[in-house]
């Protein structure tokens, strides 16, 4: 979606908001309460989706923020605060509480995170029921009887609109792209320099939910633990977001509308078991349409719907042919001579010594080949350098500075770029977006528009120009390896670690690749360590070769010398080859 489409979406939402704002003046009170409910659930569902859909952390306690907000509002209001002040307090206090709780929460990942958030719901129910002096316990708080429907309604419309706008901002911003990279592969994202505190998004999400709680509480004029923290309702906004289509701009709206109307219809026609039917719909969606309604092929056949269902991908506003060459600055002269040093690095997994006392020095501008049989520790060494693993002992230094204790993103900023043996692309993004994320991960990132354009350079450099705006999921394994390289280069590394890129390439492609390697060093001053099995490729370009066997360095020198080394021969070819030729 370009900036224009973004404006259009906001425009549509604005018109809708204005129209809805007039509803109370001509509709029945039943309709008004229905619309209020729609607005409320939309706000809750959408704000949930920022954390659950965009970031990928399934937060089941979201409804609690709504309840806390309602309570803070009610307490403040009944103590004489002006309603706007009470709302602000609701938002603020909830944000602080959620921020604090997030500290231990985000130590968990995936399903463990979901487990833990689930536990928070009944906690607040209990707190609300038992902190009687504050909350009046299970009797609840009764707000002064005033005619506030009108204002509350308008506030809710405003909040819903704000939520929508925030969504477009998050989704269409560089921040949104970076957030989605975390969802796709958090570790790979960190390795290209991305650092996002999920807490930030969680707090914004909670703040919105809390404000909605305050407004709704005011509207209801009565709050109690059951209404505010009711477990039977707590998971519904989440189901709505998922039902419509998580991580889609119009997904939560669709989900909310479908489920609210469904609920009303069921209430009207099924006096008993209406909850069960409601649950059945949710279950069936989970079973058959986990991507949500907007992603199902059936639903997409409807023309209008397919418009709503477009996944958002960033494109560049600049069209036309791509310029040659990369925008990488060679390091200034006078930089340290030794680019990378490993001192006695060891890595153990249980009883297995994957690396034993590995020491090596790589000078700036060298191209070093790293070879060894399968299981000799090459990828483990790369993982120790890029901090995917913690070393068991020893040190790794870049430009003389130890990096052994740094975070993965700090290592990327220190100048280490790498590709993975099994490509770790951001699956749900396009090729361009993958590389753009790397550009945004730099310590001094370019502007978003510039990054989107720059990405094209790197993509063309590795020969994927035709696939610039294709989804990564359509790429073959070979092309993903090329994408790995483009993305690693985009981080503007000083030292590039390449893990087995050449297997599966034709001889011509190998030659091209080797030419690139040479150019990366000659023209852009990169230092390169290259893990490879195909010696003919290595022979063309490496200055030096390091041989690993069983986690130890057994040879370190030029390729011809190393290949005639007895130990190396034994490792690769077996003892016989080291003996004399047959007569």
């Amino acid at each position: 979606m370009t900036f224009l489409q973004e404006k259009r979406a906001i425009g549509i939402a604005f018109i809708a908001a204005v129209l809805i704002a007039f509803v109370p003046s001509f509709a029945t009170s039943y309709t008004v309460s229905m619309v209020m409910l729609l607005l409320l659930f939309y706000t809750l569902a959408q704000s949930w989706d920022w954390v659950g859909g965009e970031l990928g952390y399934v937060n089941l306690s979201h409804y609690a923020s709504y309840g806390i907000g309602a309570y803070v509002f009610a307490i403040a209001y009944t103590n004489g605060a002006h309603f706007l002040v009470a709302l602000a307090l609701a938002s603020l206090v909830t944000s602080v509480i959620i921020a604090l709780i997030s500290i231990p929460l985000f130590r968990l990942q995936g399903e463990y995170f979901a487990f833990a958030t689930l536990a928070l719901l009944p906690l607040f129910d209990i707190l609300a029921s038992n902190l009687k002096s504050l909350t009046n316990g299970t009797e609840g708080i009764i707000l002064p009887a005033e005619q506030v429907t009108g204002i509350a309604f308008l506030l809710m419309v405003g909040l819903a609109f704000l939520t929508f706008v925030t969504t477009t901002l998050i989704v269409h911003s560089p921040f949104g792209l970076v957030v989605r990279s975390i969802r796709d592969d958090e570790e790979a994202a960190e390795s290209i320099g991305v650092r996002v505190l999920p807490r930030k998004i969680m707090v914004i999400s909670a703040a919105i939910a809390a404000t909605a709680g305050g407004i709704h509480g005011w509207y209801l004029s009565f709050i109690d633990p059951g209404t505010m923290f009711g477990l039977d309702v707590a998971l519904v906004p989440i189901a709505m977001a998922l039902l419509g289509g998580s991580a889609l701009l119009w997904g939560p709206i669709v989900g909310v509308i479908v489920l609210v109307f469904l609920n009303q219809w069921l209430l009207a026609y099924f006096s008993i078991l209406h909850a069960a039917f409601y649950g059945l719909i949710i279950l069936l969606v989970g079973r058959y349409l986990p991507g949500g309604l907007l992603r199902s092929s059936l639903v997409r056949r409807i023309k209008f719907v397919s418009l709503l269902a477009k996944e958002h991908h960033e494109r560049s506003s600049v069209s036309g042919n791509i310029v040659e060459g990369l925008d990488l600055t060679p390091p200034a002269s006078g930089e340290q001579d030794v680019a990378l040093e490993c001192r006695s690095v060891s890595k153990n997994f249980g009883g297995n010594a994957a690396l034993s006392d590995v020491s090596l020095t790589v000078r700036r501008g060298e191209i070093v080949g790293l070879i060894g049989a399968n299981g000799s520790g090459k990828t483990t060494l790369f993982n120790c350098i890029s901090r995917i693993y913690d070393v068991s002992s020893g040190e790794v230094l870049v430009d003389g500075q130890p990096i052994t204790g740094l975070r993965k993103d700090e290592v990327a900023h220190a100048g280490i770029g790498r590709t993975y043996q099994i490509p770790r692309s951001f699956e749900r993004m396009t090729v361009r977006e993958n590389v753009t994320t790397a550009l945004l991960g730099r310590s001094d990132p370019p502007r978003f528009e510039d990054a989107l354009n720059e990405a094209a350079r790197f993509v063309c450099y590795v020969g994927l120009g035709h696939h610039l705006d294709d989804s990564v999921s359509t790429l073959s394994a070979q092309k993903r390896k090329s994408l790995e390289l483009a993305r690693a280069l985009a981080t503007s590394p000083k030292i590039l670690l390449i893990d087995e890129v050449a297997s599966g390439l034709t001889p011509t492609e190998i030659d091209q690749f080797v030419a690139h390697i040479r150019e990366l060093r000659d023209r852009y001053g990169l230092t390169i360590i290259w893990v490879e099995h195909i010696f003919s490729a290595l022979a063309q370009v490496v200055d030096r070769v390091v041989v690993l066997e069983q986690g130890k360095v057994i040879a370190n020198g030029t390729l011809d010398v190393v290949l005639t080394d007895e130990a190396v021969q034994r490792s690769y070819f077996g003892a016989k080859a080291a003996e004399t030729e047959p007569c």
Partner: protein
């Protein structure tokens, strides 16, 4: 005994094997050589029904086992020592071996087979109660081979069994494999170390980019001084 004809295998929309042809007679020791990514492991997986063939066939004696269920293939007498061993790290050595007899048909012979495996690898009997995850690479490899042998296979497939195994242990394992072959088990060995493979097998196939491109008796391949270099792409 085993006939693989024009085998084609696709994984995740990518065609990995295009045309693999192998023939093994009972009691033979055959090697499967090739560079990384050539398709050796995929061939092994297909033999065990763990990768889907979209062309060609696999026959065990007269039985067509192309795309048969793994349980059926195991019952027919094929066992695999997979790349990376795939042990159960929090189960004891003995429990790992026991899983090798999981198939209903094999359960009766459990005690007998366990004694046989302990006879092949006495050190495993010593360490029978230790967690497999705590063992050294070589010992883990023994467990993996032992586990495959528990099912009394007629055909034993080994996929790179010497990765992460100390050279001294490799010798011990090779001796055991010779014993196993001596007991009448047909062996198909995937191995990266060409000479080590050729010392053990009678003949070998070479796979390159998903196709069998070469076949020869070990002696002939060993005497071809340039074979290893050609094979590893140094030219």
């Amino acid at each position: 005994m085993l006939t693989v004809s024009n085998l084609q295998v696709e994984i995740d929309r990518l065609q990995i094997l295009w045309d693999v042809n192998l023939k093994l007679e009972v009691g033979e020791r055959v090697g499967l050589l090739g560079a990384n990514g050539a398709g050796k492991s995929t061939t092994m997986a297909a033999l065990l029904g763990m990768a889907r063939a979209n062309g060609g066939s696999i026959h065990l004696f007269e039985d067509d086992i192309t795309n048969a269920a793994t349980t059926r293939i195991l019952a027919a007498g094929i066992g695999l020592v997979p790349e990376g061993r795939q042990l159960f790290p929090a189960l004891s050595v003995e429990e790992n071996l026991r899983m090798g007899c999981f198939l209903r048909a094999h359960r009766k012979a459990y005690r007998e087979r366990l004694d046989y495996v302990y006879d092949l690898f006495p050190i495993l009997k010593e360490k029978s109660r230790q967690m497999a995850g705590d063992l050294s690479g070589g010992q883990q490899q023994m467990v993996a081979i032992g586990r495959a042998m528990m099912g009394q296979p007629r055909l034993l497939l080994l996929d790179e069994p010497f990765i992460g195994v100390a050279p001294i242990v490799v010798t011990t394992v090779l001796d055991v494999l010779r014993r196993i072959a001596g007991n009448g088990v047909t062996v198909l060995l995937v191995e990266q170390n060409v000479h080590r493979a050729l010392e053990f097998v009678d003949r070998a196939y070479v796979i390159d980019n998903g196709r069998t491109v070469h076949e020869g008796q070990s002696k002939a391949l060993l005497n071809d001084g340039a074979f290893a270099e050609k094979f590893l792409g140094l030219e």
